[in-house]
Subunit: 131 residues, 2 copies
């Protein structure tokens, strides 16, 4: 159980890294907006599951490292911004996607998850041939 | 005079929008790292001046809107993350670059400024023909 927006987002990221997708999806609101800024938005737990399925299906392992995180407010009405190194292992090699994330917390769950990154870097990270 | 990291970063962004570049450069440390994540890093006030010269030379007007900002620490040792809509007017039309910024504040000045955005979106924003 998270007691503040900061720990809720840390637990959410940690659940994704452990591939505990159901647990992670239980931490978002039913109408949660998931916005991968250069790619587009989807909504709700099923939209998030669908959006992440290609990424998680290609990855042998993921390790998203929060390098900085600042938050304000409460679990009822909170805001969290973080800087991450979204590491993913594909074809035996770890690759890095630098990301900044914005999370709005409403009524104890994440109601907005917006990630900023470079689309070209993501394409290189996900390419099947190891570079 | 800024009294906390939050207001220092707001004043810095506001100075850039007013094209008061000398005033803005006075708010960064002599070895400040300016990292445009998908493009690369430069250092120091002269590096920042050089990095911004093309952008500011092409722009008729700039209006970087801070849509969310969270900070922690003090002016001596602080951290600020913000989400911005970096608007720029070129050929009479306003274009938008969605950005997340990370700012480290050390000894009353900005010692790290790291911006996350999509390189392809920046290229479209800066294209001379209005879209």
């Amino acid at each position: 159980m998270s007691h503040d927006p900061d720990s809720l987002v840390r637990t959410f990221i940690s659940s994704l890294c452990s591939l505990e997708l159901e647990s992670a999806l239980g931490m978002v609101t039913s109408d949660c907006e998931y916005d991968n800024v250069p790619l587009g938005k989807i909504h709700g737990p099923e939209g998030i599951r669908s959006a992440l399925s290609g990424y998680l299906g290609t990855a042998e392992e993921i390790d998203w490292v929060i390098t900085a995180q600042v938050s304000t407010g409460t679990l009822d009405d909170g805001l969290v911004l973080n800087e991450r190194d979204d590491r993913v292992r594909i074809d035996g090699t770890w690759r890095s996607l630098p990301v900044c994330g914005v999370f709005v917390v409403t009524g104890g769950r994440i109601s907005l998850w917006r990630d900023y990154f470079d689309r070209g870097t993501l394409a290189k990270v996900m390419a099947r041939e190891a570079t």
